[in-house]
Each structure stands twice: as structure tokens, then as C-alpha cells.
Amino acid sequence: MTAPWLSAMTAPNTLVAAGGVAAVGFAAGVVGSLALLRKRPLVGDAAAHATLAGVAGGFLATGRRDLPTLLAGAFVAALAALGVLVLIRRFTRTRDDAATGIVIGVSFGLGIALVSGLPRWGLAGSGGLEQFLLGHAAAITGRDAAVLAGVSLAAVLVVAAAVKEITLVAFDAAFAAAGGWPVDWIDALVAALVAAMVVAGLPAVGAVLVTALVVIPPVAARLWTDRVAAMLMLAGLFGLVAAVVGTLVSATRPGLATGPLVVLSAATIFAVSLVVVPRRRQEGS
């Protein structure tokens, strides 16, 4: 006889979901590292909070609620939020952090209003969208997991192709621009990759906490290494471990949301890194 929690963890559908979420965790760590190096760790936050409205919008526009449709809506909303952020920065004198706060608040408010409002207005089949708030890995099917893994693989391949250009811009944007590199477009590419991974993390981790998946593993990885390539790999690895642990643990009890457990796993990795990595290294001298 195996313990019930162990059989819940090793159930086939749990393992399939964990596989998809693992791929997302890896890619989110890699992509999040680039945003962190560019000193824009909150790009993911702005994108994440807009996804909920996009999920509702995707459902409203198509009447379908399969995962790819909803995530496509979320991706459009995330890009729109980042676009608004760029416009606010360019045409007003609002500070960067204030502009981010505005976009986060407004888009999240809209999302909450939609996912909680639609069922009450009697829209058939609109219930349950709020599970994208905190994430619910158990709802991920084999086909969903394949989609998430595909998106993750694509993001990692784009990074592998353009890591030289992205690193150049992150380290010294003025030098890159003087050399003729399209800095704005490379920044947009990084923002779009972050948005894609935030959206891919949505089913398992949820809109509120998915930012942590693109921020905490990179910050932890940075403690261990002084090279970009190693940082990307390590952040990917940390993200993968956090995603898998969170998904498996949440499977042991019916009521456990996946998102908080993934974030707590990532935070544990960060805390252990802080303790284990010698202070001399952390101070960079």
C-alpha cells in the first residue's frame, strides 16, 4: 500500500501537468533573467495583472473556453498593457514605477470585474474563470501541457538565438544604439518573451503570483554566478524545480492552490541561496 498523498503525486494526469509546468518554470526563469539584467523586473508584473481581463476577453470574443483560446486572449491583453505602459512613458511625465502601478491597478481591476461579473450577468459557461487568479494545475490536461511545453520551448529557442544582442543592450544600451542595433525592438522582444511566459504560467500559478516565476529564480541564480549564460541556465533550473515541487505538493490535497506553493518553493530556493552562497561573492568584491 502506498500513502494516499504519494499516489496523488504520482497519478498520471498529475505527472503530465507537472511536465508542462516544469517546462514553463524553466523558460520563465531564463526569460525573467533577461528582464532582470535589463533592470526591468516589473515588466512581468504589468503583463501578469492584465492577463485576467484577457482571459475573460478571449472567452467573450470566441465563446470557447479551451486553454489555448483563453491564453491567446491573455497574451493579447498582456501585450496591450505593455503597449499602454510604453505610451504613458513616452507621452507623459509619469515616472516609470508610477506608470507601472497605474497599468497594474487598472488592468487587474478590469479583469476581476469581468471574471466575477460574467457569471452573475447570466452568461452561460462563464463560471470558473477565476481559477486563473491563483492557478489550478489539476485542471491542466495532456493537450494543455503539450501547448505549454511548446510555448516554453519556443521562448527558450528565441533566447538562445538572440542572447548576444539582448545581453549587449542590457549591459550598455547607449553603446548598442551607437553601433546601430535597434534597442527599442530588442527591448520589445524581451518584453514580449516575458509576457508569453507569464501567460504560459497562468494556468498553474495564476495572475496574482506568476510574476514571482520570472523574478525570484533569476535573483537567486544571480547570487551563484557572474556569467550571463550560467545565470540563465541556473535560473531555468530553479524555476523548473519550483514549478514541479509546487505542482506535486498541490496535488496531495484537493483544496491546495498551485500558485502559492510554486512561489513558496521558489522563495525557499532563494533563501537557501542567500545562506549558502558566501557573502564575499554576494557583494561582488
Partner: protein, 261 residues
């Protein structure tokens, strides 16, 4: 003007250049021609627009009026022939790269999209590091260098660009005397090799001994030419005094410009 560029086109030419940030002018009507390879110093007080002159030349800040030409050509046709050393404080020296990584960035322009530096590029980057006296620090994280060493890494990166025209923004700022001498020696070698080297510089004492030609800048061009002829007490007084009057005058002029369609 307007004819095809010929061999005798000046290396660098600012024509009636005006630069402003958000309606605030930083440079006004600069007309300056550097015809021949030389060590050229851009001198002036803090906030005089010296850095903006370089940044405008490189397309990093918007030009309100006027134009810049390199070798008689617009910037986009000559980027690969220009080396640039930004101010050291503009980057995060805690970035996770080592000395070699930074110098290799100088080869990226030639490599283009997606191609990685190969063995030849690494060998060349090592040569560039050797020229600035940092060959044995290639593997060191850049945050663990002194200010002078960091500046020399930036210089090595510019050398790796294999340029004909080098633009350096305050390369001597916050740098120890040994590094200053080393940097200056490399710049003199570049000039001897036929390159134009334009240096934004704030130290008047060293300016006189280092540069063949200088421009005195204080939001406008005060004077330009051979160092001895330009660094006169009268010119220096005009450059370093009376900044407020000039500011007001330019401010009014830009405001007036903004109103007319």
C-alpha cells in the same frame, strides 16, 4: 554640397547643430569641421553640452536642427567605422560579464545578427586587451576592477571595433594617473595610425599637453582650432564665465522656435 562624397571629405563635420531635451536647449548652432586625423579635445564646463555633442553625432539624442556627417556621409552609412567609449558611470559594473565578454562586444557590429564571436575574434579581443595593459585580467568579473581598469576595458572594446574615428566621452574622469597615461598612449597610437580621436575632456591642465586641436564649448562653440591658438585667457573666460546670460538667450530663442510652425 549635395555632390558625391570624395576622398577629401572632412572626417567629421557638424553643421549648425542644435540639440535640445524636452524643449531645453543643450547645444546651440554648433558649426565645426575636423578635416584631418588628429587628437581632438572637446573642452568646456560641466553641463556645457560636451557629451551631447558626441551623442548627437551618434544619433543617441535627437537633433533639433542641423546635421552631422562622417567622411562626408550620414551616420547610417559609416557606423562600422566609428568606435565609441561612453561615460563609465552609464553602465552597471555589477553586470554578470567578465573583461573578455565586454571587449568582445566591440566585435558584434561586424558579426551582425545571431553570429557569435569565433576564435579569431577572441584572439583579436585579447590583442586589444594587451594594448591597454589588461591581458592578464581577461577572465575577471568587471565589478572587481578599479575605475582606471574599467575605463581601459571600455577603450579595449572600442579598439575591437576596428574604427577609423573614435569618440570618447570623459575617458579620463575618475581615473588614476597610471591609467590616464596608458589611455593617452593608446590614443596617441591611434592618431599615429591615421585615426581621428575625439575626446570629451574636463581637465584644462592636461588638455594643453595632450591635444593637437581643441574646441571650447559652452552650449555653443566658443572657439576651435590648434590648441595653443584656442586656449587663450580671453577664450577661456568666455567659455567658463557668464553661463547664465547665454542660457537665458538660448532659452528664449528655443521657446520662440517652438511657437512658429
Amino acid at each position: 554640397m549635395g555632390s558625391a562624397p570624395h576622398a577629401a571629405a572632412p572626417l567629421l563635420e557638424f553643421h549648425d547643430l542644435t540639440v535640445a531635451y524636452g524643449g531645453k536647449p543643450v547645444l546651440w548652432n554648433v558649426d565645426l569641421t575636423i578635416a584631418e586625423p588628429c587628437l581632438f579635445g572637446v573642452i568646456g564646463p560641466n553641463g556645457a553640452g560636451k557629451s551631447s555633442l558626441l551623442k548627437a553625432a551618434l544619433g543617441l539624442v535627437p537633433i533639433v536642427a542641423g546635421s552631422v556627417r562622417f567622411l562626408g556621409l550620414p551616420l547610417d552609412q559609416v557606423r562600422g567605422r566609428i568606435g565609441y567609449v561612453p561615460q563609465r558611470e552609464t553602465v552597471d559594473w555589477d553586470f554578470p560579464v567578465n573583461v573578455m565578454d565586454v571587449v568582445l562586444m566591440g566585435t558584434y557590429g561586424r558579426l551582425g545578427w545571431f553570429r557569435r564571436p569565433g576564435r579569431q575574434d577572441r584572439d583579436f579581443a585579447r590583442e586589444c586587451l594587451d594594448r591597454v595593459g589588461l591581458a592578464d585580467l581577461a577572465g575577471r568579473q568587471i565589478g572587481r576592477l578599479s575605475g582606471g581598469q574599467q575605463q581601459r576595458v571600455f577603450l579595449a572594446r572600442a579598439l575591437a571595433q576596428r574604427a577609423e574615428i573614435y569618440l570618447l566621452d570623459e575617458p579620463m574622469a575618475g581615473v588614476d594617473v597610471r591609467s590616464q597615461e596608458q589611455i593617452f598612449r593608446v590614443l596617441a597610437e591611434l592618431e599615429a595610425g591615421g585615426s581621428l580621436v575625439v575626446v570629451v575632456h574636463h581637465d584644462l591642465r592636461t588638455a594643453a599637453e595632450w591635444f593637437d586641436r581643441v574646441a571650447l564649448v559652452d552650449r555653443r562653440l566658443v572657439a576651435a582650432g590648434p590648441t595653443a591658438a584656442v586656449l587663450t585667457p580671453e577664450n577661456l573666460r568666455r567659455t567658463y564665465a557668464g553661463q547664465l546670460d547665454v542660457l537665458d538667450e538660448i532659452g528664449r530663442a528655443v521657446a520662440a522656435r517652438g511657437r512658429t510652425p
